[in-house]
Amino acid sequence: MASTVTATQSPDTAVSKQRRRSQLYQGWKRFKRHRLAVIGLVWVVIFVLAGIIGPWVAPYDYRTGDFLAINQGPTWKHIFGTDNVGHDMFSQILYSIRSALIIAIGATLVSFIIGIILGLWAGLRGGLADVIIMRAVDFMMTLPGFLFALILVIMLGRGYLSLILAIGIPGWAGYARLIRSLVLSMRDGEMVEAARALGASQAHIARRYMLPNVVGSMGVALAFGIPGDLIQIAGLSIFGMGLRPPIPSFGSMIAQASENILGFPWLLYFPAGIFAITLLSFLFVADGLQEAFSPKGGN
């Protein structure tokens, strides 16, 4: 109690800074205890790096095929083999990582921003706005977002921005519900009430008590959101409604390889394997974050 009062009087003292850092540090320490989560984090970092530097390290262009070497297994020249028009699979995968990450992160942000706006609106305003927004959330949650994504792709087209919007727009409901519940628990929570009773200012309460609690839950929600969107992108490509053909993507590689799986199974090993490991890693990281940062996470 005493330290809270001190912090209230001078919020930017060394004490409060150290406290905040230690909160994050303790979360990291809890996260590190989960071996799978750490392994997942390493893979996610590698994956993101590959997406960023992909075009510079890819040995071949994604558009040009080597017609003298089609449908090859892994060789020194093409370490992941080549597909039916001689595309180097290693380069294809590097470019796929890039496109998948751009769309997944973009779409997650779009859902998140819409969710924040509507969730805050519902939580802070209450009344009719709350009722209408929560009805809309129920409506969106009953049906899979992929259905709406399909319809939006028809309307918007198949470019990067259209896919980001098509996957992002239907995904807002979960975030809106989370943020609304956070707002309500914050507004009426005992912790905030106690701080207010001690005479803390509104800004101080928001920064010192609300933000740390909210950041944890939101980080977990985002960590679960990105792999979900990765699945949707690949699902759209399998449906033939993903990025237009010259741009490689995991979904189209998997769909193509599964067509002549009996002849050239190695075309499947690397795309499907890397995609599966990536999704698994994201989920392990999200799971680890949940147990490290959410108050009820541990079991």
């Binding site: 009953t142 399909l150 319809i151 939006l152 087209g157 399998i238 998997i254 009996l262 599966a276 392990f284």
Partner: protein, 320 residues
């Protein structure tokens, strides 16, 4: 009587949701580039006429529009369309005008329903025992293995599992199980396994958490003190109570499973709703697309309703 009231209330809710779904998809497709008229076979067939005889072209198009009611104001079109959809009068496909949508769906929908039901059933049959084992062997390697496997099942989408299965049974263990097509029961095994993986994870994790919670409760201690034997105690007092709550977990899973079926059908080349949908969406066949979305949505909601009814029957504490 309460149950009749509950069911009718839910059915009204379902109908309202479906009306919303149809309206939203109709409006979005109405404003999509190309629009209803310009992507149809009729428009393509008439394209040469546009240059030769613009007046005749206009006349034919106008007639065509009035025949399909496209000259009405948008809200009337939507109202009319909703009425037809809800009375199961789906009309004809736009790309193959001779093909009746109802006939096409009558062949494909039962396959999708069967796959989804089979997947949910299998996930309960496999997931519940896994969850029980994990709960009883809590914090041992058995628990970690089960938890990791169920997490993996949740993380890896059904279509990736499907290609792995095709690879395994098409290349490595050739000839044990068929990997493509539809016709006999053997061809349903692999798709159902792929579809159930995610649910197995959800069911097992939930069952584990719920059983651990139940085993800590007072009445279990009482049963132990009374001298009830280990397995009867676990099954009758523990598992039975955890099972009822688990039904509520299965409900929301239907949406994912049904979505999964349309992906898995692509990989296993099963002629079901997913194939129809893919054809409809990639060829801009608007009536077929909206109708398949409508049917998929109603399938999910009807399954959810059934889960709620079953739950109310099993758990006497739930009031309808």
């Amino acid at each position: 009587m309460a149950i009749v009231k509950f069911i009718s209330k839910r059915i009204i809710q379902i109908i309202i949701t479906l009306i919303l779904v149809i309206s939203v998809s109709y409006i979005m497709m109405y404003y999509s580039p190309g629009g209803f008229m310009h992507t149809s076979t009729m428009a393509t067939a008439l394209a040469p006429l546009q240059g030769q005889n613009p007046v005749l072209y206009q006349e034919v198009m106008a007639q065509f529009q009035s025949r399909y009611g496209l000259d009405l104001p948008l809200w009337q079109q939507i109202a009319k369309y909703i009425w037809h959809e809800l009375t199961f009068d789906f009309g004809n496909s736009m790309q193959n005008p001779s093909l009746q949508i109802a006939g096409q769906l009558k062949q494909t929908l039962p396959i999708s329903v069967m796959l989804a039901f089979g997947a949910v059933l299998l996930s309960v049959i496999v997931g519940v025992p896994l969850g029980i084992i994990a709960a009883l062997k809590r914090n041992t390697w058995v628990d970690y293995v089960v938890s990791t496997i169920s997490l993996a099942g949740q993380a890896i989408p059904a279509f990736v599992l499907a290609v792995i299965m095709v690879l395994l049974f098409g290349v490595v263990f050739q000839g044990i199980l068929p990997v493509t097509g539809w016709g006999n029961w053997k061809q349903a095994i692999l798709p159902i396994i792929c579809l159930s993986a995610a649910n197995v994870g959800v069911v097992a994790r939930y069952m584990r958490g719920s059983l651990i919670e139940t085993l800590r409760s007072d009445y279990i201690r009482t049963a132990k003190a009374k001298g009830v034997k280990y397995w009867p105690m676990i099954m009758k007092h523990g598992v039975k109570n955890s099972l009822t709550a688990m039904i509520t977990v299965i409900g929301p899973q239907f949406a994912f499973t049904v979505m999964g079926t349309i992906w898995v059908e692509q990989i296993f080349a099963i002629p079901a709703l997913g194939q129809v949908m893919q054809m409809a969406f990639t060829s801009f066949d608007y009536p077929l697309a909206i109708t398949s979305v409508f049917l998929l949505g109603s399938m999910i909601m009807i399954m959810n309703l059934m889960v709620d009814i079953i739950y109310a029957f099993i758990d006497p504490r739930v009031k309808l």
